[in-house]
């Protein structure tokens, strides 16, 4: 990520200079920074809503039921996560929200799943194999019906916009399956995570505790 961050900015500056767009590149810093805060703040309300709903779903046992249904699948995909971990249910909910095109719900639920996965992560700064697998599933963007695209097509007077659904579904399925396969391959060959040496310090500082104290949000150590 260090290199990507470096190259993203340096290449932009160099390319901007070559293309005579350096002033645009500099302006993009301000608009980009503003946009990030806008994105984050626009998430607050919907995030709160879905985190609230997810808590009800968890207390009522709904997530557990869903987790049980998809267990045969998740057992293979997330072999490092205990079978009865609440993360499995959250992952299933997040995937369903994505598949149904509920992007607003998918993000908060996905973050909930990440928090559960983080509890089982040995190095809190680096991504566990389970997280990489979950993100491979999420970034592949599996969706049953591409609703926004269809609405644009209807807008330009496309005669039969639903004909786009089958090919899109085929493509997204291919991308989704290959994402899982690629993640599985990397899982085997990538340098494994190492637990940081000060692990005993980290164990007593999990999410529930930082939540109660409310002061530190658990991420800066």
């Amino acid at each position: 990520m260090n290199y990507i961050f470096y190259f993203l900015i340096i290449i932009s500056i160099i390319a901007g200079a070559i293309n005579g767009k350096l002033s645009d590149v500099v302006n993009a810093i301000l608009t980009g920074a503003e946009l990030s805060v806008k994105v984050a703040f626009s998430l607050i309300g919907i995030m709160a809503f879905w985190l609230g709903m997810m808590k009800i779903a968890k207390k009522s046992g709904l997530i557990e039921i869903i987790a049980k249904i998809i267990k045969p699948l998740t057992k293979r995909l997330f072999n490092e996560i205990p079978e009865n971990s609440p993360a499995i249910g959250d992952i299933a909910m997040s995937f369903s929200a994505n598949a149904l095109g509920l992007a607003n719900a998918a993000t908060p639920i996905g973050i909930k799943a990440m928090e559960e996965l983080q509890k089982q992560n040995i190095d809190k700064k680096s991504a566990s194999n389970a997280m990489c697998m979950f993100l491979a599933m999420s970034t592949a963007g599996f969706q049953l019906i591409p609703a926004t695209v269809i609405s644009v097509l209807i807008g330009i007077g496309y005669k039969n916009p639903t004909e786009i659904i089958a090919p899109t579904l085929l493509v997204t399925t291919i991308a989704f399956l290959s994402a899982i396969a690629v993640a599985k391959i990397f899982q085997r060959f990538w340098t494994p995570q190492k637990a940081p040496e000060k692990i005993y310090l980290k164990v007593d500082r999990d999410f529930s505790e930082s939540k109660i104290s409310g002061k530190n949000s658990g991420g800066e150590d």
């Binding site: 607050i44 709903m53 997810m54 090919p167 493509v171």
Partner: protein
């Protein structure tokens, strides 16, 4: 007919999920209001936590897009992709769709309006946009929310899958339309 069914499904998915969650909660005697507000409290914290990660990624991507490099890459790729019946208009979508969802939708909208409803390019662009998710954004938000800065192979996996998705879109579109 089919379209009507689809509309009903997309309209009712969310309400049905809410009915399911709340009814099962009530049935299991969960104190709904209390538990909801308790869970919702975290919304603000999570949103604020992801800001630094979003700034890093979104500023980087905004600069990248403003630099005009995407157009340059497009010019290089255009002769290669024209062999596969892919018009140069679609190339920005291939690059942008991993970086910014709204930008990809904007480019798609332009293509659709310019090329018109019957064009092959419109169909290809629609499939490419409809089958993708903004890899960089998802990584920034999901990892940012839990404070992870070492992505290991997550980004590479996402980008390889995006690339396979693009290739699949070109192939599928070629054989179906």
């Amino acid at each position: 007919m089919f379209q009507q069914i689809m509309n009903i499904i997309s309209l009712w998915t969310l309400p049905v999920i809410l009915i399911l969650i709340l009814t099962l909660g009530l049935f299991k005697k969960v104190p709904l209001y209390e538990v909801f507000t308790d869970g919702a409290k975290e919304g603000f914290k999570v949103a604020v936590n992801i800001i630094p990660y979003l700034v890093a990624i979104i500023v980087g991507i905004s600069m990248f897009r403003a630099s005009g490099i995407i157009e340059s890459i497009g010019e290089i790729l255009a002769p290669v992709l024209s062999h596969f019946n892919v018009s140069a208009d679609v190339i920005p979508i291939m690059i942008v769709r991993s970086l910014s969802g709204s930008a990809a939708l904007g480019v798609f909208s332009d293509i659709a309006h310019n090329a018109g409803p019957d064009a092959y390019t419109t169909k290809l662009a629609a499939i490419m946009v409809g089958s993708s998710e903004t890899t960089f954004y998802v990584l920034a938000v999901y990892f940012g929310a839990v404070g992870i800065s070492k992505f290991r192979y997550a980004l590479l996996t996402g980008l390889i899958a995006d690339f396979i998705g693009i290739a699949a879109a070109i192939l599928v579109c070629h054989y179906m339309f």
